[in-house]
Subunit: 580 residues, 2 copies
């Protein structure tokens, strides 16, 4: 069977490159990854195709999901994996974010839709652990850390997808009880992943809503947003006033139920405020940022698995003749230059995407007294969300191409991996939203992130100086950094409205520069280890070949995406929509 | 309802740009396109989603397809549309290839899977009309021109997908009868679109096979390939020895049955040779080339429809605020720069793809005493197959993105258009095969095609000289042409094996240069007509904006794809497969 991920490469990234062993017991983490890989293969991968056809349905007003999804999640809970990243005082195992992220990569590669429930539950519990009262943590976070209850995040509304200022769900103060200030919520939420399901004993919704003022009005901007914890079943066992208004039937990710929910069709859904009125968006951003990196990780994992499937296929499938030979027996298609080129491209994309997400997890783990890692993480978050969603998806596309006609059939997994991955550029903020975040919030308003990135790239360039094999990479990355900084300066000089017009190419350009940096940084590390083992030699040679493919054929695209000349020539405001 | 294609743009291309009215009665062609648009909407589009879920199945060894597909094809036949492009002496209407292609674009946009049966039937009949005897034409082509029988092309075998030399299906001479030399065929064919169905009275298979020599051997290269016409039902009404071995369940294109067929499980499938033994590949290339351009056209049409759907969606969907405004009511998302950029990109891709395919049809129609058009068509065929399959597909991807979460649901059509279009880079020769064809056959072996392309681009550059608005396009296209010619020279100097290593980027680069040329050529024409009508003004302004988007943000990629430096640095043969 084809491996879900290249374990040697994951171990290299986690232990050698990001040096987790210096902060954590290597044997424990290795055993944790062994277990993750085993359970992912045996319980998550096993129903990958089944959950794609056995879609969630509604019975008597409640959502029923595929039995195999429920079984897998029950096993995941039983093993205590929901609590892997939580401190022991909250019932968790206390593993680092990096270890947990590497584990998640296995489950996402095996079955992104089933993993979706886990991702939302963990991020929900973490938000409550950060901002909730002790009573909230006991009542709502602990059962999620134990994997008995699952969580959701409820932001979008029919009239307010990406535009959170337009949220109309309102909360009316009810009274104070053991769990704090209790409200009644009224409003319609949509695109709620895991919004209803029959896999967990209860569902914990984290709902963005606006507190209604005494005069009955609700604020019309994001400052009025508040966060409420709204369980499906109330502490007394009664059912809360939340109705499933419908299910979305999707292109992929089908195992994850996706619901429209009506809060408060009757007397109002009961919820307790987290923090104070107006804190909602700031608090929710913790969950959103975690979810954004998780989305990037899921995208990376989907592309990674597709790469390994196409590599194995290309080694087995015989077709055509070796270059230069006009006769003889057919050879494996991996021998053809065109197939090799596609495989190298995939390898660069998926290893680059995975490295980016693991690096972000690593930043979460590091001590951060000066806020430097935090600033860099802020800059990298929209990139870690988007770059894998576009380039690991491109690896999925290439996987279909390498499989030829077989790849287009549902007998193979590569078509589903492609469909599943297509969601990742949309949910948790589309690429356009991420681009606005990068340019509007991070580049225009915050110098610290860019300064932190520059410092680290310069450090990598310095480390690369000793090895002649890295010279070509070093020169290209130096130029790329200059281009990125010049583009950032230019956009800053333009002001927000003009800068936003070019946010999408800027995001793509920064994505390529960041990934190219992480590639060279890996090469430096892999090069040092290359002499020690045969595996180390092969790893280094493989990374050299794949990253060179990226540097020669992909990185030069930043000449377009970070071109201030092309920014100057793009004035979309001047284009009349009637001519489209 | 959203239009299938922009009729104004199609009319502009057909009548103004390619000047069909100078060779053909404009009113007749307009009425034909009116009819095509109407039938495509009423009978083909109407079952687009239905045929995606009501997939072909096998009952008692025969394939049954969705009833709505059969009804649509029956109506298409009743209107005489199968015969649109055939001369009257063969029972056709005698319309030009350009008119027929514009008509096909409507049916492909409405329902690519249902249109697939038509495309194969017409190409099959045209091959027989070109190479068959009068008896073959009467017996096998006429019923297809009437739309009573449908056709297939049977090339691939399990061990021979793209590698036709490895075909093992063999033919044993039986005897001569009214239809010529009769053979019995034995072998397994796969990926046969329309290989079995219950929509037509009979099915005409055109089968590539090798004639068994007297000593029992069969040749092991393509020179031994011969072409046979093998009907499902024999002239005497008996069922031929052809068994359906299985059906493929696909990612998209689901309305078209796709079969594995076993010829000669019993006494041998009866077939008549077309031409002489060894003529097979040359003859089949006529059908393959026609099918390749048809595949490109289908891809263009799928992207085109998705563009129009997202344009309408973007005009209706309100979300966020206008640039520069911090409050007020939400605006239609078409007002956002990021959405406008995506729409302009789509418009450039789909109009570029459509123009390319219509231009190829135009070349078929032109008198060609010196073989110049034929040489250019040869060069353009792999490009017309591939460029729309990649870039109109990119327009489909953007259509999902513009629709946001809605685009990911099966309630909308854009996800299916994307799935359907993904096949087009695979069937009728993958992109890798097209790249080998362009570089190996057309650039390395044939000067005439490249010379013809150069002459025409120079003519367009000259025509663009009079208009200052075209200066930026002209300069960029001049440089692009130089780059393409230099890349071709370089590849020629490298010899076949090294040249093939860089065939894929070369194909992409040539694709962009050719499409950029056709864009400027359209701008010259649209610019001349812009003053005459308000519509003409808008068309010109729209093309200017979209094609500028392409010239500024896309065309510079040829700096990578046509870079002789990057060709020199790509030595895939030197890369050990074990490091992948």
């Amino acid at each position: 069977m084809t491996a879900l991920l290249n374990r040697g490469d994951i171990d290299f990234a986690v232990f050698d490159w990001l040096e987790l062993h210096s902060r954590s017991d290597r044997e424990t983490v290795e055993a944790f990854l062994d277990l993750s890989e085993k359970v992912a293969e045996e319980s998550f991968l096993s129903h990958y195709k089944l959950a794609d056809v056995d879609e969630p349905g509604i019975e008597s007003g409640e959502v029923r999901i595929c039995a195999a999804v429920k079984d897998a999640l029950a096993q995941y809970a039983e093993l205590g994996l929901f609590g892997a990243g939580f401190p022991e005082r909250l019932g968790g195992i206390g593993l680092s974010q990096l270890a947990c992220t590497a584990s998640s990569a296995y489950f996402s590669a095996a079955n992104i839709a089933t993993s979706g429930y886990v991702m939302l539950t963990v991020a929900n519990a973490r938000l409550l652990a950060a901002f909730g009262t002790d009573a909230h943590v006991e009542a709502f976070a602990r059962p999620q850390i134990e994997g008995r209850w699952f969580g959701t995040m409820c932001l979008s509304e029919p009239q307010a997808g990406s535009s959170l200022a337009d949220i109309r769900t309102c909360a009316e103060f009810d009274e104070e009880d053991d769990l704090g200030k209790r409200y009644r919520l009224f409003g319609n939420k949509m695109w709620i992943s895991g919004g209803d399901q029959d896999a967990s004993e209860n569902i914990v919704h984290l709902v963005l809503a606006k507190v209604r003022a005494d005069d009955g009005s609700i604020p019309d901007d994001t400052r009025g947003l508040s966060l409420f914890v709204v369980p499906k079943l109330l502490p007394d066992g009664a059912t809360n006033d939340i109705a499933v208004a419908g299910l979305n039937h999707k292109l992929g990710y089908r195992g994850t139920s996706n619901c429209a929910l009506n809060f408060g069709e009757d007397r109002g859904a009961i919820g307790w405020i987290v923090g104070s009125p107006g804190d909602g968006l700031r608090q929710m951003f913790q969950m959103m940022n975690e979810a954004r990196i998780a989305v990037g990780l899921g995208a990376a994992a989907l592309g990674y698995r597709a790469y390994l499937l196409s590599l194995d296929y290309a080694k087995e499938r015989k077709q055509g003749r070796a270059p230069g030979s006009r006769g003889g027996a057919p050879v494996a298609i991996v021998e053809h230059a065109d197939v090799k080129r596609m495989l190298l491209t995939q390898k660069a994309y998926v290893e680059g995407a995975m490295a980016l997400c693991l690096y972000c997890a690593h930043l979460v783990d590091l001590e951060d007294s000066e806020g430097d890692h935090q600033a860099l993480l802020g800059l990298l978050t929209p990139i870690a969300k988007t770059w894998p969603s576009e380039y690991a998806l491109a690896a999925n596309d290439l996987a279909i191409q390498i499989h030829g006609g077989y790849g287009y059939t549902r007998e193979y997994h590569v078509e589903q991996l492609w469909r599943d991955n297509r969601l990742n550029a949309i949910h948790e903020g589309t690429t356009g939203i991420q681009a606005s975040d990068l340019v509007g919030r991070k580049i225009l308003r915050d110098d610290a992130g860019l300064a932190a990135l520059k410092r680290r790239i310069l450090a990598t360039l310095e480390a690369a100086e000793t090895c002649p094999e890295h010279a070509e990479f070093k020169d290209a990355l130096e130029q790329a950094l200059r281009k990125a900084l010049a583009a950032a300066d230019y956009l800053r000089s333009q002001g927000l409205d003009r800068a936003i017009e070019n946010a999408a190419p800027c995001l793509r350009g920064f994505g390529h520069v960041v990934v190219a940096w992480l590639m060279l940084d890996q090469l430096v590390c892999a090069g040092r280890l290359a002499d020690k083992t045969r595996q180390g030699q092969q790893r280094y040679a493989g990374k050299l070949a794949a990253y060179r493919q990226f540097y020669v054929h992909d990185l030069p695209k930043i000449g377009i995406w970070l071109s201030t000349d092309s920014y100057a020539r793009s004035d979309y405001g001047a284009i009349d929509i009637d001519v489209l």
